[in-house]
């Protein structure tokens, strides 16, 4: 049991470290280090622009999408090398946020199901950051039950014509391409009538509307499709096989480990170490200590769980669905920590401005944003189902719509 690299891993790390040292945009280091709760705001620059510049540099140095094959813009690196790269890239990895969906989900799907021409045309430009991709799966009536989606694609000659609406699409407003799942046959049960496509987001009939979120920010979009034409050559997988194609996409999402999720624990520890309560420092208060210690133990448990996963990768094993615990634990913890920090602030906790009493409102922001952590990318409930079914081997839910043709499934509760 040790935390050491193998000689090959150490050599790889050394190469990566030297490259980052020589090429990273160091002027952004302080600002990137501060944005620790997953929300990156640069004072003077646009994250997409700065991100594109960093991604391009990485691509030229052969460090972009490094686990992809060389012919598609990667480096042919192993999964453990990718983790080492992420560790060495450090805070600059936050700049890759606009490309993560493309790299983690869209790219691998094109790689698995696209034609050779499509792979050579699209993947290198995705890797270099020249073209950004988004993922068009969720719909207003199909979130956790994504197979219940309604967006229709109808065959007209060599093309498909798409009508419908997607929602929660991160980055749609700056994306060049999108990975789209649509219903091609409503007369068969829901999982069987789906087909996967990719499309140019500038196609006529595509309309992107930003969504104003409960925390007041705008990071997601609605995307409307009105008679959007997609050539059949942009279909991924067979007609009616969209569901199994989407499972490849989602499996790859789980593979993108190594980027640790924010838990709020370091911020809370610092806050309690400095906060003066009526009887002294918060961190000397027994009730505060008890909660803080439980959170700290959970957070270190997550850290060492990811180390175990990395060790498995290092031995050539593939991480499984047990990785679902990271988001499940940290999402709830963020919300609990935010609530408790505000409780300690008392009456001033209600303020959301740059007030000294609330340490510039960081926990207030955390409180308002944390609900999305428990929903996006699989709700807490779906993650528990995944653990129960795929790790513990419990039976799947009884699905009343499983064998019913899609167009016979009820759409209203009452």
């Amino acid at each position: 049991m040790n935390f050491d690299d193998t000689p090959q891993e150490a050599a790889f790390r050394q190469t990566a470290r030297q490259w980052v040292e020589a090429n990273a945009p160091k002027e952004l280091h302080a600002e990137l280090s501060k944005s620790s709760l997953g929300r990156i705001r640069l004072a003077k620059q646009d994250i997409v622009e700065v991100g594109k510049a960093w991604q391009k540099k990485k691509f030229e140095g052969n460090w972009a999408c490094l686990h992809w094959p060389k012919e598609y813009g990667g480096r042919g690196a192993t999964p453990i090398e990718k983790v080492i790269w992420q560790q060495e890239e450090g805070v600059y990895g936050k700049l890759t946020q606009p490309f993560q969906i493309g790299e983690g989900m869209c790219g691998p799907t094109v790689m698995a199901f696209g034609s050779e021409d499509a792979k050579r045309r699209y993947l290198p430009k995705l890797a270099s950051g020249e073209e950004i991709w988004c993922q068009l799966f969720s719909e207003p009536s199909a979130g956790s039950d994504v197979a219940g989606l309604r967006t229709r694609a109808e065959k007209k000659g060599d093309n498909w014509v798409v009508n419908g609406q997607k929602i929660w699409t991160s980055g749609a407003h700056y994306s060049d391409y999108g990975l789209l799942i649509a219903r091609t046959d409503p007369n068969v049960p829901k999982h069987k009538g789906l087909t996967m496509f990719f499309l140019d987001m500038k196609s006529p009939g595509v309309e992107v509307r930003p969504i104003r979120q409960a925390n007041g920010m705008q990071e997601f979009n609605e995307v409307y499709f009105t008679d959007v034409v997609i050539p059949d050559s942009q279909r991924l997988g067979a007609v009616g096989e969209g569901w199994s194609v989407s499972l490849t996409t989602l499996m790859n999402e789980r593979m993108s480990i190594g980027s640790r999720l924010a838990t709020g624990v370091p911020e809370m520890f610092e806050f309690c170490s400095n906060l003066m309560l009526e009887d002294g420092l918060a961190i000397d208060d027994p009730a505060v200590r008890s909660k803080l210690a439980s959170w700290a133990a959970k957070s270190s448990g997550l850290k060492y769980t990811s180390y175990r996963t990395i060790s498995a990768l290092s031995k050539g094993e593939r991480p499984g669905p047990e990785n679902s615990i990271g988001k499940l634990v940290s999402g709830m913890m963020l919300q609990d920590i935010a609530t408790y920090a505000m409780d300690l602030q008392g009456a001033a906790g209600v303020l959301t401005g740059n007030d000294e009493e609330t340490v510039q409102g960081q926990f207030q922001q955390m409180l308002l944003s944390s609900p999305s952590m428990r929903i996006a990318g699989g709700t807490d409930e779906i993650l528990r189902n995944i653990i129960a079914e795929r790790v513990l081997g419990l039976p799947g839910d009884i699905r009343v719509d499983k064998d019913v043709p899609y167009n016979k499934i009820p759409t209203k509760g009452r």
Partner: protein, 375 residues
């Protein structure tokens, strides 16, 4: 990075599991639970023969001279099997105390006897309510004799010797405490068995009346040795708790697959699935923290105090959570004496108090994190 046990260590775990499945079935545990015997003597003998009691004791003192990672994998299996033997008292506390602070003569006297299964040892620290703290040690030592009462002492009624924490000063500092080694069979003690939460592991009251004792470690060093002992034992106990958590989770999962209600397996209801998924999450966090503790223990790393506290908290919470919800999954049957669920529930809650309560270790973790942040 290789943050995992080696193939040899995993093989040792398999060997321990096979041995315990055979010799320490729930039926065997029930013999101690329901009967008069305070522990399973045959099992204890078998553990000695397998070399498990002395796995981390150096060869020159009659042990296998393997190491603490090997002891961790065995500990996990002991917890899984809910073994009714004084393993933690003897191996995690008494043997570790001797290894940390014992003189050559003390080590020669007791360590081979531990490894061979002839001697049972324990730690006599607590005096009634309260957590480990110098101010809670009232028993006095003067001129080589002890006077006072220790309660509860785990496995106290069957122990051959005890490491006893005694007051040798009154300055109000840690240096007031010294450790002593007492041969409990040599007179000067009165031992009374106490009923407790987990009848498969005894608890006793030991009264020391002008009892002869020899110092263990330097005078005034008692608290510092004890702190090290508790940290080391916290990691080892965490592995027992992880083993117990996993077993309780498995029992719940298996029952959820077998039991039919409302015309379907109860494991197909989300209310039950989610409860089991949450148990899995707790057990996984505890396992990962315990692995870190094992690394720190086996390498004597400076990180041990923090790692031990995190492992202890995480494993205590996980075992309590899994044992409690295992009963819930079983419904009414889980509340019967006949089903094994209560044995894990009892063990989980008894273990949560043995080395100091959860709130004590939460306090420790915060102190240790602050110390690290300040450094």
């Amino acid at each position: 990075m290789n943050f995992d046990f080696s193939d040899d260590q995993k093989q040792l775990r398999d060997q321990a599991r096979k041995f315990l499945t055979e010799k320490c079935s729930p039926k065997a545990v029930r013999v101690v639970l329901d009967g008069k015997a305070p522990y399973d003597k045959e099992l204890w003998k078998g553990l000695a023969e397998m070399g498990f009691l002395g796995v981390a004791i150096p060869e020159e003192f009659g042990g296998a001279g393997a190491g603490h990672l090997e002891l961790c994998v065995i500990a996990e299996e002991m917890g899984r099997a809910n073994a009714p033997v004084p393993f933690s008292s003897t191996v995690y506390l008494a043997a570790e105390a001797l290894l940390i602070a014992g003189s050559d003569a003390q080590k020669k006297k007791w360590l081979p006897a531990i490894a061979s299964g002839e001697a049972i040892g324990t730690l006599a620290l607590f005096e009634g309510k309260g957590n480990p703290a110098p101010k809670n040690v009232k028993l006095t030592a003067a001129n080589g004799v002890l006077n006072g009462v220790k309660k509860p002492v785990a496995d106290g009624a069957i122990a051959d010797f005890a490491v006893v924490a005694a007051r040798t000063g009154s300055s109000g500092r840690d240096g007031d405490i010294s450790l002593f080694l007492v041969d409990l069979k040599a007179g000067g003690v009165e031992v009374k068995s106490l009923t407790n939460l987990d009848p498969t592991r005894g608890q006793a009251e030991i009264s020391f009346k002008a009892c002869k004792a020899e110092p263990l470690g330097a005078a005034g060093e008692g608290w510092s040795i004890l702190t090290q002992m508790l940290d080391r034992a916290a990691v080892l106990c965490a592995f027992e708790q992880v083993g117990g958590s996993d077993r309780a989770l498995e029992m719940g999962r298996d029952y959820a697959l077998d039991r039919i209600a409302f015309g379907r397996q109860i494991g197909s209801f989300q209310a039950v699935k989610h409860m089991l998924a949450d148990m899995y999450v707790s057990a996984t966090l505890a396992r990962s923290n315990s692995y870190y503790g094992a690394w720190a223990l086996s390498t004597n790393a400076a990180e041990l105090p923090e790692a031990a506290a995190a492992a202890r908290i995480s494993a205590t919470q996980a075992f309590q959570h899994c044992a409690k919800n295992n009963i819930q999954v079983h419904g009414g049957m889980g509340f019967t004496w006949e089903f094994d669920c209560h044995m894990y529930y009892r063990r989980a809650n008894a273990m949560a108090l043995g080395l100091g309560s959860l709130s004590y270790w939460e306090d420790q973790l915060i102190d240790r994190m602050r110390k690290k942040n300040a450094a």
